[in-house]
Point group: C2
Chain length 239, copies 2
DNA sequence: CTTGCGCTCCCCATAAATGGCGATGGCAAG
DNA sequence: CTTGCCATCGCCATTTATGGGGAGCGCAAG
C-alpha cells in the first residue's frame, strides 16, 4: 500500500533529521503523502508562547498568536482534556468566541475538516499534531479512518524530535532531593501546614524548615509554593 | 508480514473490547503475537495506588506494590522524565535501591530485557506500557527495532481503553478555573508573592485573594500551596 | 428578568511562613 | 581524615498569608 511506504518514509526522515529546518520541511511531506491540505505541529505553552510549524499560511499563524486564539480554539481546549485523537466536528463549537474563531479560520484558508492528536510529554508538555482538509464529511471520514494510526505515530515522532532539538524548552534537570525533603514537600503539596508536616514526620518544626529551605535552594525556588510547583513539574514528587 | 496482521488484530480487539476483563486478556495476546515473555500496562499514581494488568506472576506484582517499588524502579523513575520509549539497558541502574530491585525482579521471573513506553494522559496521568523478555542483547535489539512502532501504537490504544473503561480514576474532573484564577495560580506557582501577583495582574491584592480563595474552593484545596499542587496535577495550570 | 457567576474593590485581626543567627552527631566518599 | 551532605534541634523578628465581614457592575443563560 502506497500510504504505508509514505508513513515509513516520513518516520525515517523524522528519525534522521538533525535540524529544526529539516523537521519543518517534513510537515509538507505529510500533506503530499497523505493527500491533505494542511498539517501542523503546535506545542502549547503559556499564552502567546507556542512552538509551531506547519503548512498554514503565515498570516494565519501570526494572527493565531496575535489574537491568543489558543485560549479559545476548541481544538486546543478540547484536546487538553482528552487522550483520544479527535475529529474537529466532535468538539464543542458552541461558545461565541469559538464560532468567531472558526469563521476567522475558514476565511484564512484553514480546512473545514480536521483531525487533531493530543501529545503530552514530560514536565506537563502539551502539543498538538493536526491534519486538516477541505472536503465533505464522508471523504474526510475515509481519510481519518484509514490513517488515524499513521497520524498517531507521526505525532509521536514529531514530538520526539522537537523535544530532542529544542532541549531548552524542556526543563533542566534538577538535582535530586533527599528522602526527607521529598517527604516534606509531598506533605506540603497535599495541603499540610508546616506544623502538621512536622508532627506527621515526627520532627521539630525547625528541622522541617531546614528541609524545606534546602529543597528550595536545590530547586532554585524563591518560596515554598514555588518549590512545590517545581518539584511537581520536574516529577520529583507525586501527589 | 505476520506481525503486521498481529498488530491489527490486537488494536482491533482493543477497540472492540468493552470490559476490563477483555482488556486484561489482550495483554496476553501481545506476548503471543510478538514473541515476548511479558507485557504489562501500569498506570502510576501516588505510591501504592496503581492500576496494573499484565503477564507478570501475581507474586511479583503484589510484591511490587507492597514494597512500593515504583519509587525506586528505574523504569518508572526514568520514564517519568522522558517521552521517548526506552530500552531498560539505557536507564540508570546504579543506585543501590535500583540494583536491589533488579535482583529481586530477576528472581521473580521478570525478563532481563525490557522496553518501556511512557504514556501521558490528561490531568497529569502517567502510565507505562512495557514488554520484557529473557534473551541476549542482540536478539532483543532485533525485536525492539522491528516492533517499536507497534509497541507505541499498542501503548496508545491500551491507555485509550483504560481511560474509557476506568472513568472513575479520571473522574477527578475538577471544575474548570476561570481565566483570572488560572492567571493567579500560575503566577503563584512560579514563586510570585501575592503582592507581586496583584501588581503583575494590575489588580488589588484583595481581588487576587478572591481568586485564590475561589480556586481553592473549586479544587478542594485547604491552602494555596495545596491549590497550586492540585491545579498542576490536574493540568489546569502549566509552568 | 432574575439568578448565578466572574471580576473588581476595602478593612481588621490572627495565623503562618520566612529570614537570620546558631548547634551536634552520623555516614560516605575522596 | 577531612570535607560534604544528611538529619536533628532552638530562638527572635519580620513579612506574608488567611479568615471574617462587606459591596458593586456586567454578562449570559435559564
Amino acid at each position: 500500500m502506497a500510504a504505508k511506504a509514505e508513513l515509513d518514509r516520513i518516520l525515517e526522515a523524522l528519525d534522521a533529521t538533525e535540524t529544526l529546518d529539516g523537521l519543518h520541511q517534513i510537515i509538507h511531506k505529510v500533506c503530499d503523502g497523505f493527500g491533505v491540505d494542511h498539517a501542523m505541529y503546535l506545542w502549547v505553552e503559556t499564552a502567546g508562547n507556542h512552538y509551531y510549524f506547519g503548512s498554514y499560511p503565515p498570516e494565519w499563524t501570526q494572527r493565531y498568536i496575535d489574537k491568543a486564539y489558543s485560549r479559545v480554539d476548541p481544538v486546543v481546549v478540547g484536546c487538553y482534556q482528552r487522550f483520544h485523537p479527535v475529529d474537529w466536528k466532535r468538539l464543542d463549537w458552541s461558545p461565541r468566541p469559538a464560532r468567531e474563531f472558526l469563521k476567522d479560520a475558514l476565511k484564512h484558508g484553514v480546512g473545514n475538516q480536521g483531525y487533531a492528536i493530543p501529545i503530552r510529554g514530560p514536565n506537563g508538555q502539551f502539543a498538538l499534531f493536526t491534519v486538516s482538509h477541505n472536503c465533505d464529511d464522508a471523504a474526510w471520514e475515509r481519510i481519518t479512518e484509514k490513517h488515524s494510526r499513521d497520524f498517531i505515530l507521526m505525532a509521536h515522532y514529531f514530538n520526539r524530535k522537537v523535544l530532542e532539538l529544542e532541549p531548552s524548552r524542556n526543563a533542566e534537570q534538577a538535582q535530586p532531593l533527599s528522602p526527607r525533603e521529598v517527604d516534606a514537600l509531598t506533605l506540603l503539596a497535599i495541603g499540610y501546614s508546616r506544623a502538621q508536616v512536622a508532627e506527621t514526620l515526627s520532627i521539630s518544626e525547625h528541622t522541617l524548615r531546614v528541609y524545606i529551605e534546602s529543597a528550595r535552594f536545590k530547586l532554585g525556588a524563591i518560596n515554598t509554593t514555588h518549590a512545590i510547583a517545581r518539584a511537581l513539574s520536574l516529577g520529583l514528587i507525586v501527589i
